[in-house]
């Protein structure tokens, strides 16, 4: 059965119209998200799963039901793949002094070049929502380099106090190492599949755009223990 090389399948456009953001260097984001009612497997790239850029050896998944930020991340240098992260990067948010418990709610927009997650918090029925709208954009700036932007926008005419923090749940693999950096961490683990391989990821950032080099992102603690999986 003849199959086109997936490298040949990247779509080209000659339309003289402004490109939407994020497409400049990655116009071949392919996806195979979790099963959602309105989504199917990508019909022209047969061996892929997850979101990835052209020629990227890593994919990540994004579930609309999870906290903001990318979910599982996989390496697929081989045909076999095991997760490098159970949750690559998640954002937790709190409204100090809120009169009731707030639940995050996400909706997703998928583009060929990037994924945009829009989130906000809801409360009990007939209660007003907080006036803050969140956005998380996931975008491959280069092969195997994922940029994750979290944005909070106060839509009201008054100040709003919030608290934010980020978390990550790496997968352990057969053996793993964790190195804390001044502005992030590096996680590596060995996977034993058809051909053993070591996968790693360095996560940096967390400050505002202008201060990315002097990020305040740091690891508070590293609790060992694999969370229980949700089987169905």
């Amino acid at each position: 059965m003849k199959v086109e090389s997936h490298a040949m399948l990247s779509m080209k456009t000659t339309l003289d119209i402004p490109l939407p953001p994020y497409v400049e260097r990655s116009r071949n984001l392919v996806r195979f998200c979790r099963h959602m009612p309105h989504e199917q497997l990508h019909d022209w790239f047969v061996a892929d799963f997850g979101f990835r850029a052209e020629l990227s050896r890593f994919s990540f998944l994004k579930n609309y039901g999870s906290l903001p930020g990318p979910d599982e991340a996989f390496s697929h240098l081989q045909m076999d793949a095991r997760p490098l992260f159970e949750k690559l990067l998640g954002m937790e948010m709190d409204y100090p002094g809120a009169p009731y418990r707030l639940q995050p709610y996400s909706s997703m927009n998928y583009y060929r070049s990037h994924i945009e997650e829009v989130f906000h918090h809801t409360g009990p029925q007939h209660h007003p929502f907080p006036p803050v709208e969140g956005r998380c954009v996931m975008f491959f700036t280069a092969t195997d380099v994922l940029r994750v932007e979290f944005e909070l926008r106060n839509k009201s005419a008054a100040d709003v106090a919030v608290k934010v923090r980020w978390f990550s749940r790496p997968s352990a693999g057969l053996s793993h190492s964790l190195e804390l950096l001044s502005d992030g961490f590096r996680h590596a683990c060995v996977q034993k599949v058809m051909r053993d391989y070591e996968a790693s990821a360095t996560v940096r950032g967390g400050s505002s755009k202008s201060r990315i080099q002097n990020s305040e992102f740091r690891i508070q603690n590293a609790e060992l223990g694999i969370p229980e999986k949700e089987w169905f």
Binding site: F49, A81, V132, A157, F167, S208, I219
Partner: protein, 284 residues
């Protein structure tokens, strides 16, 4: 393992937008068998697709679907570590929460593996499954992280083995699996013929029900709303597979018996073959 940052208190001024940026740099490296370049990996993958048989002209429109299925099957192959420390290639049910060699899923999906002539994955999985059948024939529901997880799914193990054998004949592997398959089907026959009629109920209380639960298995069936009832207030009861002998369970067991009869014939066990044929005839 969970990593967390400190809470960061932020006051968002009116109409203000605040941004936090992260960058993730991935890398990987093969540890055994020499380096494998991405181009090499792609070449290997595409060679597998190229080796797939041509589809007949009238099925040519299904080619993208076949390629997708082949890609998924290839992606889900795994090298499991067995309880005694050996490594065997298996097939997982998927990613993200279903990373395991599932009983039911494997029996059906391994047919695709067989079509691709991947004997190692197919027989590796079936040998692993045979090892997981208890001495009394009790099955498991999945194998992951070096453990068999208790439970039951619809009985199609012998059917799966026999059909994989038809695609990738290996008499030694068949002989290895046969005793466990026999114990397994006998377990169904002994334990789940609750009313002694030669018909079997689904293995209730064993976890999931093959993911094909029917509402008629609920205690309070029929569940149709009666006048004055509301959907929200309706008490459907709980599923109870032991309430009746399900058609699909008995059909699957019939196929199991037929498969065991055919296996016994290949393994030159004429008495076993005759017995299983007789059992199948009685049920079917």
């Amino acid at each position: 393992m969970v990593l967390r940052t400190d809470w960061e208190a932020v006051t968002l001024a009116a109409k203000e937008t605040r941004t936090w940026v992260f960058e993730v740099r991935f890398n990987d490296a093969v540890l055994q068998g020499g380096p494998l370049s991405l181009a090499g990996a792609i070449e290997n993958v595409e060679a597998r697709y190229a080796a797939l048989p041509e589809l007949p002209a009238e099925w040519r429109r299904f080619e993208p679907l076949v390629l997708r299925a082949a890609g998924i099957v290839l992606n889900n192959r795994f090298l499991e570590t067995t309880p005694n420390g050996n490594c065997v290639p298996t097939l997982h049910g998927g990613k993200c929460g279903v990373e395991a060699a599932w009983f039911w899923d494997s029996c059906t999906s391994l047919l695709g593996v067989g079509l691709m002539n991947d004997e190692a994955t197919g027989w590796g999985t079936y040998r692993l499954f045979a090892d997981g059948i208890a001495a009394d024939g009790k099955p498991f529901v999945r194998y992951c992280d070096g453990q068999y997880v208790e439970g039951a799914q619809n009985p199609i193990l012998a059917w799966g083995v026999w059909n994989f054998y038809a695609l990738c004949p290996d008499r030694e592997a068949l002989a290895y699996c046969y005793p466990a398959l026999k114990r397994y089907v006998v377990w169904w026959m002994r334990k789940w013929d609750l009313r002694g009629q030669g018909l079997y109920v689904y293995a209730s209380g064993m976890g999931c029900t093959g993911l094909d639960d029917a509402l008629q298995w609920c205690e309070n069936f029929p569940i149709a709303l009666q006048p004055g009832e509301t959907w929200q207030g309706k008490d459907w009861g709980h599923p109870r597979a032991d309430l009746f002998e399900s058609v699909d369970t008995n059909c699957h067991l019939y196929l199991e018996m037929k498969a065991l009869a055919l296996m016994a014939r290949v393994l030159e066990l004429p008495q076993g073959s005759a017995e299983w044929e007789q059992r199948a005839s009685a049920l079917g």
